[in-house]
Symmetry: none
Amino acid sequence: MLENVRIVMVETSHPGNIGAAARAMKTMGLSDLRLVQPQSYPSVEATARASGAGDVLEAAQVCNSVDEALEGATLVIGTSARQRRIPWPCLTPRQLAAQLSHDLANAPQDTRIAVLFGREDRGLTNDELRRCNLHVSVPANPEYGVLNVASAVQLISYELRLALLGDDFELQESRSRREVMPLPEMFWDEPPATNEAVSGFLDHLEKVMAQSGFLNPQQPGQVMTRMRRLFMRARPDKMEMSILRGVLVALEKKMQRDEGR
Amino acid sequence: MLENVRIVMVETSHPGNIGAAARAMKTMGLSDLRLVQPQSYPSVEATARASGAGDVLEAAQVCNSVDEALEGATLVIGTSARQRRIPWPCLTPRQLAAQLSHDLANAPQDTRIAVLFGREDRGLTNDELRRCNLHVSVPANPEYGVLNVASAVQLISYELRLALLGDDFELQESRSRREVMPLPEMFWDEPPATNEAVSGFLDHLEKVMAQSGFLNPQQPGQVMTRMRRLFMRARPDKMEMSILRGVLVALEKKMQRDEGR
């Protein structure tokens, strides 16, 4: 269904942004890119920033007008950072994605969606925005809400991917069995330990494990990685770290005292 | 609450990405940026790409090591495009945002969150990833899932903003959405330990703690309750239990051998 979605960039000034948008699209599984009167294209900078998405960039269609870029579209979405004088139906990217996922699930063959992205300095014109069925606006810092155009392409493509394909990790990518590991609740009686405190404890634990003869420092294998993972995911609090440190100190003293006899 | 979140970029090669990340952060209301050994910084390119986020860029702290960048952090998140040999708890950005929003709502003063972003070409090292409590991975095209680092900063900052501040347009809806966020499911390489195994380990730990002299069996206080809570919430797997049992056995032998001299 992602193939029904087209990204249209209008009069982009910086070719780097075109390449970055192509890359953003490909990471989310989109491939239909149209460029309306790009200021400088093709360009070495666009190719560099596209990185592994050179195919999307090369297949991009350069258009003379927005009309040409919108050819065949059944639903046109305009991205906008601010509300215009006459307010349009305006969705967040998440609401838009939910809407499109609904449309596409019901009539995939008939739906051709185009999402318009405006110029770096002034976005889409009022005229261009009026040609859209819906507007989409990214919830942002009211003091500075101007996203880079390729970042906006990334965000909206991401929301579309999640709405259309779900956000599960690829099952087959994992060679291991699936287990459920719930995260700890954090209604807590003690403040969390700092990262330095946990690191210091893990170094200390390693030392005591070596002293005990359990850990061979020459052939440590994956033992400390596994211990690290256990304690990192448990997210110890300050009191727990202090108890465990106390135990390690007591064990060291006991082993030294006994050795010294 | 967004001020509790720090973005850490590790050994970034392209200064443009640093500027773009600063801009991405500011659009989402984040401002705490730390740069671990950036290849070329300060830089005209970073400043240009930061656009209106020059203040975030100028306030960025350059650090000599990841340790320095993580100073004071109570929760460290590593961004990663792939599963490593020993899988870590790994969330999607949306699951992460739900989790952090929960943590911050309950203990805002104590929580300092650092999100680590790796090098453009090879991400974070295994060693760096092992220092994280959680990993986060963006659901992406399995054929090409390599997001630009500034795009990744944008996406994760966006998810955090939405989870923490809600959606500008429909606050109530986004709040209720957050509450129904399902617990993340994890991929794990080892089956979980049984409850008996963890109980047996805790009894054994108590014995060794008493032998070491740390724990007074006549006045145990809450120490074992705290140890029990720590290990129960971590939900150890079989391999972890087997390592920890091995360590306890080695410690006992060492203490007995030394005493018997």
